[in-house]
Symmetry: D2
Subunit: 351 residues, 4 copies
């Protein structure tokens, strides 16, 4: 059995990977680490786990946390993984980090990101940046399979990239015309209570936020630019709506000469022919976030607005699955040579 440690176990990202590992046939969630709630069983924080998993949370410097594990998940904010990953790698673990720490393959790119979000531009482990792989399996499957260290993507980022990369790669849409309009559920903000996510303040409320630029925008542009071989910038509007789970992102771009609906649809189908978790749907299919809730799937609805000459893709994911823990597990499967879908073979439950 692969022994796994989860750092930041008490948050939604931590309990999300825990739930998945509990049903994975070849992994044992062996250590739950957090800086708060140490000494309490995880089922105290998440009573739905009582009797299923009652592991105690331990502090990062506890004996249990310092044992050697096969894989370590950092479900932690920016700045934690970059400090601790090197030590884990030295002990022989493979590392998957949820933050922006390892999503950028060079010190320069990381500095751009850090500047954008107002952090120190120096990375604590710059030597690890080159080997770290950006964890979108649909784009970097082989590199992930060979990696010791993966930077799991942001939820808004992966929702946009899954829809945009084929458009750029297959030259369906003009890179200078890209727009992403994203709507997320509230769980994307994590477990911590705050006035804007207080139930009475959130029910019946829709709003855009971070108009100046959501941090996930940086990795979207970084990935698109890397693939296009030139700098691509896009407008990304991030919005919150009163659901718990789900991201729906509408993607727009002006069609390149000669591209029509059939060609666009074919390009997406082709691009994702071997991707077990991306479902490409033609525009006649009724689609919604319900169709991916609780699963690791992304559902891409492909459309062309012939009247205006525009490509339109609606991307649907569960932000806590393909947008976070599910994708992290998919990465882990690849890193350990397991079936990419191991532990992720079940649909969500409806309704």
């Amino acid at each position: 059995m692969i022994k796994a440690k989860i750092v930041g176990a008490g948050g939604y990202g931590g309990v999300g990977i825990l739930e998945l590992l509990m049903r994975h046939p070849e992994v044992e969630p062996a250590a739950l680490v957090d800086v708060v709630d140490a000494g309490r069983p995880i089922s105290d924080l998440y009573p739905h786990l009582a009797g299923y998993c009652d592991l105690e949370i331990c502090t990062p410097d506890s004996d249990r946390a310092c044992e050697t594990y096969d894989v370590v998940f950092f479900s932690t904010p920016d700045g934690v993984g970059m400090q601790a990953a090197a030590g884990e790698l030295e002990r022989g673990a493979k590392v998957i980090d949820y933050s922006g720490d390892f999503r950028f393959g060079s010190a320069e790119s990381y500095a751009d990101y850090a500047n954008f979000i107002g952090r120190e531009p120096e990375h604590a482990s710059p030597d690890l940046l080159e080997e770290a792989v950006y964890g979108v399996p649909e784009f970097h499957r082989d590199a992930i399979a060979g990696a010791r260290l993966v930077g799991n993507p942001g939820c808004f980022a992966i929702s946009a990239l899954l829809g945009l990369v084929p458009a750029v790669g297959a030259k369906l849409a003009a890179p200078g015309t890209l727009i992403a309009d994203g709507k997320t559920g509230v769980s994307g903000a994590g477990k911590k209570a705050s006035p804007v996510f207080h139930y009475p303040a959130r029910y019946e409320q829709m709003n855009a936020y971070k108009l100046g630029g959501h941090q996930h925008l940086v990795e979207v542009e970084h990935e698109l630019s890397a693939r296009a071989g030139r700098r691509i910038a896009l407008t990304f509007t991030t919005q919150v709506v009163p659901v718990c789970r789900g991201i729906m992102t509408s993607l727009y771009g002006t069609l390149e000469e000669g591209v029509d609906y059939a060609r666009a649809l074919a390009a997406y189908r082709d691009f994702y022919a071997d991707a077990p978790f991306v479902r490409v749907c033609d525009r006649s299919v009724p689609a919604g976030t319900h169709h991916v809730r609780g699963s690791n799937r992304a559902l891409l609805l492909i459309d062309v607005d012939e009247r205006t000459g525009r490509l339109r893709v609606i991307s649907h994911i569960d932000n806590l699955m393909k947008g976070q823990a599910g994708n992290a597990l998919q990465n882990m499967n690849l890193m350990f040579g397991l079936d990419e879908t191991a532990g992720l073979t079940e649909p969500g439950r409806y309704p």
Copy 2:
């Protein structure tokens, strides 16, 4: 007192105008007409009105319905108002119709609309089309003030137009680059139950629909084109999220040469300087649909994405108020020479 008749009183659009008329100092809701539930007091259908308004619903051909009223609201589907408006006008009433019947100023334009939505292209009262005024007070205040017949706009349409018309009018954004990404609450679909709005199928669900073209798109393009003096087409994505009341529409367009944030903001402030129900906010203001829920206001958040050279406007309305009954009452006020804000002077209630 102005005596009002509401046709289609049993639906959300009908009860919405009824609620407003009940608190209007100069109007008396005098007849409630519908093709179903005749003989039942309206408070049977809407028990929150019990004791406040217990008027009986009557059929369209009942004695009560056939009396003369000062104003008639048709909260009815396409095709009803065009049949009945002429008779009302002959009896001396002023008419406000909620459907697409009188939103287009010529038989040709109406035929385009009718073709788009799959109806017969012939209008039943083509002679009335020329005098009918498209009921966006912010654009056609004087014409509405002099009109006998107003076509109240669609909810998605007014949400988009309030944000787009200044952009086109003040040449802020290139008309060929416009995109509208709209999210509506469920009440926009009306009172009738349907599988997609069944609570378990709707909670936690976001989805785009009518990708081929929502009917409100036609009037948006019609109005924009009329104002620009040339044909303008845009991409409009209509989406539903699990809220009851509210529309948030994100509007995008490539900035015209020389336009920056300050100029764009100033243009919107200027355009709406005399509009009592449009609140123009700079991009630093936290905004959301909560801020307009229950009120006739539109809140426009003005932004420019300098990185990509794009204008971005987030338009927020209550779909049942500025998107329907509130706007209809605003039109009525103008048609009768009343203060534009009469009966509409209260904010909604929070939370």
Copy 3:
């Protein structure tokens, strides 16, 4: 115009009375006091009020706060009003307090309450307790009309009392058999964010809390006991469900000898014959919290379970209206000799 000061203006109880006073024909909300957010306009905290009310919040010791007002509303936690009420009364104001400070007519009763909730048993203004009136207009209309100082009831308390008092008063049910099963919306907990009211933790969640005894239980028993002339205890289960506004409380009691449905219904109708805000419905009426949302009404559904010989009353209120600010205004109207319904004549809006 009656000049009003609201202490605790920044909370839901404060903004609730502000919204109501804004539409009251004879009152002017003249000072908004709070210990936080001083210097900010109230519309900063509640943007739906922007342009409607932009009064600045001032501190309790500011000049503005220390002027003389005709009425002062204390929308504050236990312990604030008891310190400040005396000063306000001396300056000639009438005072309405939302907390438990003035709901108990004697130092002994207050001490019982204080012990129950774990506060110091000594009241800061014991001499005021005798003159303070418990603010349920349906039970104490005359006393309220003559009072300078009113203790507005708790939301769960009034929801239960409106259903129970006629049962005890008219000897419909045996006092020793009373049970109240209450379900509240989240706004009852106020504006402050907390983990249990975080949107993802609250949607889809129902739970009972304070099984050991909700603080509102004390005033329910106090009032019932006072009316019965002997000690009455009841079981009260308080529960939270994912709605924003609304309390539904199911009340049970074993029928006294000879009482049947007709007699029970008649007793309630009789008891509330002159109560403008209580709607007594027979059991055939479909009822729900929607019917009182946004209004000051209480809807009592009267039932008798003949099979088991039990009285069952379902009480519905809007916890922020009849459960708080609406009831406070009703008290104010009585205290100033105004029509009891002034400023409260409108139904809520639907949906």
Copy 4:
């Protein structure tokens, strides 16, 4: 592999058991039967299943439906199973019926139920009633293990019975004093859209319904009476709140002489010592429907109100799991000699 047929596969009860069987190690869902949507893959109706299960729905008289299966689930309304069960049994299948058809062990008891709900009192297969077992594994484990035919309980019924049976059995509470106050999520009403479950009519709405008696009351009283050896009647209030999944039922009864909290708690712990899906919690545990959502668990919070001498039990289930499909699978496991928890070993997912 056990081959299973699901009749009524298109409803929530059908898709619920399908989802569970898909993950069961020893069962193959082999036929999906319904009277509507025949010829469509189930994933057309439930797109979250696309690629996971695309079995076509067939009509009840299709060749596929008429093959022999090892187990048949009737997720159908009253009256269907009683017609078809005999045929299935003859072909050698075991049968689990979700309706009231086989919950009553005699023609007389069934007639009482049928009268209560307004159906014909004659059962179509009266000879099967004696052998049919009421499917609450916690009460009838051995009988279920030996049964060919099980009547799966109603969701409200099992939620109440799990809390009441130990109280009656261990003589904790006086049978004549029992009250059940139940609140259900909307999915309990099934997939069919209706005006009261239309999203705008249901959000923010709480209401009681069927005050005259919910059909599940009959089986609660039947089971309690059978166990007590005498007729027991209780008051049962059924209510709907705006959640999708979950039932919380508060249960009340006057304590029998000498019973205190410790004894009550011990009695429940003892009663459910061998029940893998019942979690008995002492009253200090924060509990809610979140803790059982998506799992087959029932969570019973045991309390005694010492002030009033009353037992209070709060029962929490997922109405679609322990209240329906999960419990049906638990029954199937027992009927086939499998581990009672097979296919039911996972907690739900949070949030």
